[in-house]
Symmetry: C3
Subunit: 504 residues, 3 copies
């Protein structure tokens, strides 16, 4: 290989590094001390950080950016933090008194879990917005909702078979942490201390129940809720990564929330997959067309977008509902977005912690009204209109509204069948004082509203193409679901009638 080519190749290979590393980035004395050991012991995270923006720019430098190019939102960062890059010590020794997991580590008061309240030191506005984001309450909204807990009991509880009957072991913390709370967030609790022999001698560390976890609604040892690392993984804390759909996919992958699946087969997803290598994910603000030619999840839901003239198309938000009128996710029907992120306060007409009744009536007083829905949609549509004309965008949303109505109607049908089954005593639901999710037929009904109806709606919302709305857990399966429920009911009715006939 000729030398010149080698040289160019070498430059190319290291470009991502050079792009982020500034030779003269001042590192604090404390961080330098951390790096001494940890660059040997934990080379993975140290290098990840070294390639990051945090390692390249001081808060003072970052604060010099003006207007929409400004990335940090706290106008008054403490003087002593201004002139060193954001390294280990800056975050892990921040506000030591506030963190229950603070421990003495080589003379530093270090805490393990860096929380949104630490990040707020620079990213004040983002933290505030995220506090109003339903995702920040994901743990509480799950763990403190009695209806969801009923479902969880018979999913996470180990099934047991005794005397011909099925029961479920109580759900334990390790299972929760591995399952639902992986995304929803665990409750981190310092339960003690432990001494460990390390390569640097014996040391004492806090024992944290629920650790590790990066769930979006994690309850932290400092009392705050959330984990910025859910979307900006340690220790690059990359904006670029959060702008790519793979990040959202981590939690929005399953049949209950098939956002990534729909995106990946959509026109937008195709253009992303085919063209992203040539896009600029680092620009702030992010210019539609110049920087990218099809939206990612972030572009539609969160990012600060401008047009080619630098005029703002949409402001940055870390409150996901800002651009959403509907909550597509059926509980058990799609419904207007909740008014506030804490959904445990919601009660439907039957007094259940659900945003809709079993007949589809929304729990109106807890949900945004039509005017607010329209406003949120308008915000979202501003982004659509950067590539599509009004008739296109209106046509799209008209279909979405129709799909929400028809998918809700379909769930109304399967729910009516389920209620008939409960009424006829062929299964035991809430009215019979039983868990409404533990029997075969109840689970069949759940498949319908939790998986198929959601596929259909997510598909319509993201113009995902036909298959996710038809044959891939879509309308084919939802109508099949109804037919299967009828089939089940008819057979049991016949069996019961036959039995009654016999016993007469």
């Amino acid at each position: 290989m000729p030398l010149k080519v080698v040289a160019l190749a070498a430059i190319l290979a290291f470009l991502p590094v050079l792009h982020c590393l500034a030779a003269d980035a001042p590192i604090s004395e404390a961080t330098a001390q951390c790096l001494e050991c940890h660059s040997v012991f934990h080379p993975g995270i140290v290098h990840d950080w070294k390639k990051s923006r945090h390692a390249a720019v001081t808060p003072k430098q970052a604060s010099a950016a003006v207007g929409l190019a400004r990335k940090i939102s706290n106008p008054a960062i403490a003087e002593d933090l201004q002139n060193a890059v954001v390294g280990c010590a800056e975050c892990h020794t921040m506000r030591p008194g506030a963190h229950a997991d603070t421990f003495d580590h080589n003379g530093f008061e270090v805490h393990v879990v860096v929380s949104p309240d630490d990040c707020a030191t620079c990213h004040l506005e983002e933290r505030r917005q995220y506090g109003e984001n339903i995702m920040a309450l994901a743990r509480k909204n799950l763990d403190e909702n009695p209806v969801y807990q009923k479902l969880q009991e018979v999913i996470l509880g180990t099934p047991r078979y005794k005397e011909g009957r099925l029961s479920f072991a109580p759900v334990d913390g390790l299972t929760r942490a591995d399952a639902c709370n992986y995304c929803h967030g665990t409750r981190l609790e310092v339960t003690g201390k432990v001494k460990r022999d390390t390569d640097a001698g014996e040391m004492e560390f806090p024992v944290i129940k629920g650790w590790p976890n990066q769930g979006s609604g994690r309850l932290n040892p400092d009392g705050s809720s959330g984990a910025c690392t859910a979307c900006h993984p340690r220790h690059g804390f990359s904006m670029e990564m959060a702008r790519k759909p793979y990040t959202c996919m981590e939690c929005h992958a399953g049949p209950d929330v098939p956002a990534y699946k729909v995106y990946s087969v959509s026109k937008h997803g195709n253009i992303f997959s085919s063209s992203q290598a040539g896009w600029n994910f680092s620009a702030v603000p992010w210019a539609v067309g110049r920087d990218f030619t099809a939206p990612t999840c972030a572009a539609c839901h969160m990012s600060l977008l401008v047009n080619a003239e630098g005029e703002m198309i949409n402001r940055r938000t870390h409150k996901i509902s800002d651009r959403l009128g509907w909550r597509l996710f059926g509980l058990i029907y799609a419904h207007p977005q909740p008014k506030q992120p804490d959904t445990t306060v919601i009660r439907n007409r039957s007094g259940l912690s659900l945003p809709t009744d079993f007949d589809g009536t929304p729990a109106k007083s807890f949900l945004i009204d039509a005017a607010t829905q329209a406003k949120h949609r308008e915000t979202m549509a501003a982004t659509c209109l950067a590539c599509h004309d009004t008739s296109w965008v209106n046509g799209h949303f008209k279909r979405l509204d129709h799909v929400i109505a028809t998918s809700n109607a379909a769930v109304g049908t399967t729910t009516a069948i389920m209620e008939a089954i409960w009424k006829q005593g062929l299964a035991q639901g809430l009215a019979q004082g039983a868990n409404p999710f533990d029997e075969s037929i109840e689970r069949l009904w759940t498949d319908g509203w939790l998986f198929y109806a959601n596929h259909i709606r997510y598909n319509a919302a993201m113009a995902g193409g036909g298959d996710l709305g038809v044959f891939e857990n879509g309308r084919y399966q939802l109508t099949q679901n109804a037919a299967d429920m009828i089939d089940w009911l008819t057979l049991r009715q016949a069996a019961t009638a036959s039995k009654q006939g016999k016993s007469k």
Copy 2:
């Protein structure tokens, strides 16, 4: 960051742009006028176009390419189109009289929907070929086939539950457009005009029913069928994108047509995913080995391929059946490719619009004969042979033929069970004047031929590896399907016998 590196980084970041933009590309006066407003209002599509080949090269320049390197096939492009790049006005004011959606827009006669007949201005041969492609008739073949409509009625119709029985609301246009016709194409119909306040004042626009849509068999306001934008998305109209599998995935993603799923886990798919960053997707002709080392969907099915010496391996085609002997997609059995793209003319022995009978007999007179099948396979094999020797290729196709035979036999078995069920009155099918797809057991049967048998065949055709042919909707599920049907039948027979026994 040293200045030189910044400069190089900047060059690299903009390479895709520079690569396609020519500083001196002459833009027509009309297009320049469009750009004045639309680059502000629709920066996404304008930039997408600006980075495109259309924005960089005039028809005259493109026509200068000789031999296999030539990309546009009309030898006689009108003089007044020769010397400006292909911009907004060139396409959207083409043949104004032919388009029902033409409207007056700032003094121009603009139409919204650019059709294949517009694209034919330069891409004459491709348009002609596509006209013979079954994909161009995808809408008609679905919407005008009474059997498929029966299936659609009970998938897209909202299920209703009344007096213990399930029925389906009539299928509406919004649902069709969101579901099947998203890929198959909608019927675009101008239904009126609407005035809208825009940032540029009040304007009048046509109202187009069925819009937006980019389905491959769209019926356009100029009467033409098809949408080049299905695979060459607006407004880059990129060949490179159509050469990547993500484009095909948009419509070939679901369990009925699992082409992308199979490809992605195949050896070819692995090599693509692992190596594509170093491939050349822009070369015309496309040289096997030099430009890429494993085929994408386009390489096997459509692209003009050459070897390292520039000798042609396969000619470009936009008629997908040119290289296909079999139609793997079961209706309800795999069968030879139809003779013509309009499949609504097909009738099986029972008079149904299906290419095979319920016992598997193909509707021969509507399907290509064995000699034509062999010729198509030979065409396909020419591409295989660019990497594999004859024994490899023969071995592959021998397995495929065997899998077509055995998967058809398996569907024959499940269909025989279904017919027994209909005959015994345990379900109501066509012979009983009922919809053969609306009952639970009928849908179970449909799962087998529509999903599992297709997985098995697609997997064999693309050497996809074991899982897509075994445990991922494959043979495991198809044999389970047969066992489930027998289980259903046995239980109902017992129930019926018990009832009859009782009533005696």
Copy 3:
């Protein structure tokens, strides 16, 4: 486009080529002769090779690398192989007497199937390790295990319906090769010779039954087991490719072994997908942090890893069990890794070729003991610790152990239900001399331990996030599975009771 930019673009476009090709790489006379024809006839594989390391470096040059940078492990490569790059002839004429598929080809004794014993010429240690890898025995372990064959019979055998009963045609070789043995490997057997007209005149070739195949446990015509090309595809034989997860995905894609699915939605998978374009997949040794910031499959399971100081974190292994304590894959329960790669020798307490009993008891004497398990885990954990601290890593593995226990318990429950069903004569299992996998209820049971329990465990092992452990073939489906089995049993019991009642 200005000339300079064209020039740079051209350099960039060909970088991957230049990067690997050495202008002065000496090609043997024999290989030069092969290339003369095959570069025309098979440009795909020839170019793939030309871009490869094999085409750029001679064994002598490669042997000059010292320490961990050394890629070839045979210290004593024959002199006559030292000074030419590894081309067609070097591999395909190696040890001609050992290969039953050797044939005379233009004066050379060529064999079609290059085997691990050929590769061992340079990669001696890797071949030795792979020989101890369970993957090398994948064919034998499947084809010679009577229990697995029972399952295979009713999956791969074409189902037949006669006189109201379901049966299965005997499994044939073509189907095996297309299905299970695609990954597990076929038995390659030379059955004769065939003459073919080729572009270079009439030639004679061996006929090889089972060809083509690249399964990891292929039985080769030279008697060796395995195919290096399963993970290092022809003819690039790329280490880079094997380091990417797409390669593993080829065989670990389905619901039985959902490794790639879990990885792709995990935090690690997200970081890989988002950041890999900037990683260095060519470095040997592979430095955590410097070269990559999140592990791929290879990084955790096989690769030689160092820290930034070049200190070894984990040695290279081609024996996958070196870093694994548990075999997550349930047969029918997760269990300690087998002691030796040939699992056909295993017998459980009931004398079946299974590593666990139906009640979950492991076949201890055939499986590694707890101390060895701990050692393997420690090896794996060394990699984890390059990015995570001890409390994180311990927390992770504690959850995994718990999930193995609870998922095994859940399978214990469904298996107890299945045994009750067999005992009550409602299905016919092994004790009744029947195939335990051919009835609807038996397949339902199989879904549980083969798909859902494996999803749950793979998800826990790879910290895959919630959905793969809950709603995507996870705990939701496993508990549903138990409920469905109870539902089936209850109905059949009722039907039987009713029948018996009647017959009294």
